[in-house]
């Protein structure tokens, strides 16, 4: 992967896990010092900077794969913008100041700490459906890869086979839930 190119504005393609790791390593090396300088100026320490930057990378990935955000600036500038927002959110939590609420509403950044109730209970059932199913469903629902890419990377003969396998994996999980006589409410306590 050509590092200098990936740090510039271009359509984001989360192709393979290796590509993603290479891009993230390049971004970490290139953008973390600037994020660290900002956090230091604002009174934070190295651990604060690492926490903020790592959360920002997660949000960066999710916003670009969701295709809801069209980045008009470089990846580095976009990432640093997310870092600044997260720092402000953290500062707001610490100082409980209300005047930043308006800021928050403008940016619409999802809360990384918003965990799904009983997620672990359901995740253990997902694991019973098999690692391949878990990886396949993750490619659809988290990485949001295109169907042709999923079909080729998982070795399916056609896009339709990949889609049907996705439904079969969902069926496996549903059957596991039913066999254990669990209901939707069991996952939302």
């Amino acid at each position: 992967m050509e590092v200098t190119e990936t740090l510039e504005r271009k359509p984001f393609m989360a192709t393979t896990a290796d590509d993603r790791l290479a891009l993230f390593e390049a971004l970490y090396e290139e953008a973390f010092p600037a994020a660290a300088r900002f956090v230091h100026r604002m009174g934070g320490n190295l651990e604060d900077a690492q926490d903020i930057f790592q959360d920002a990378l997660v949000l960066f990935y999710e916003s670009l794969t969701s295709k809801k955000v069209h980045v008009e600036i470089s990846y580095k500038a976009y990432l640093l913008g997310i870092c600044k927002h997260l720092w402000i959110r953290k500062a707001k939590t610490r100082s409980n100041e209300v005047h930043l609420e308006k800021w928050e509403k403008c940016l619409d950044v999802p809360d990384l700490n918003e965990a799904h109730p009983s997620a672990n209970k359901l995740l253990s059932l997902l694991e019973l459906a098999g690692q391949k199913c878990l990886d396949l469903l993750k490619s659809f629902y988290y990485d949001r890869l295109s169907i042709p890419l999923i079909a080729s990377s998982f070795g399916f003969g056609s896009e339709r086979s990949a889609t049907v396998q996705k439904y079969k994996c969902l069926e496996k999980v549903r059957n596991e839930v039913k066999s254990k006589a669990l209901h939707y409410e069991d996952f939302t306590d």
């Binding site: 090396e29 010092p33 799904h116 997620a119 469903l137 993750k138 439904y167």
Partner: protein
């Protein structure tokens, strides 16, 4: 496709916003008349949300591994020196 898979496909299309207006309204009308379908929709939505959280957790672990590499690898000494300089400049 089997009937059960067809239902899963329809629910998935509904949840992922891939149905047109007419198909969406029709599906919602079916849900009103069919409480087990509502339960299936809720369960499938929960499954996709948990998969999302699982993906997020895995990505965070990948990022922590990158951080570890940059703060320990012999060929990343310049990066560490730059970060040390930022946090130790006041000492």
């Amino acid at each position: 496709m089997r009937t059960s898979l067809t239902e899963i496909a329809q629910i998935d299309n509904y949840l992922q916003g891939r149905l047109g207006i007419a198909a969406k309204l029709l599906f919602e009308a079916r849900m009103l008349l069919n409480p087990p379908l509502i339960a299936s929709v809720k369960l499938q939505k929960t499954i996709s949300e948990v998969i999302f959280l699982h993906g997020r957790k895995q990505l965070r672990q990948e990022i922590v591994a990158i951080d570890h590499k940059l703060f320990t690898a012999a060929n990343k000494a310049a990066f560490r020196a730059e970060i040390d300089q930022i946090f130790n400049q006041d000492k």
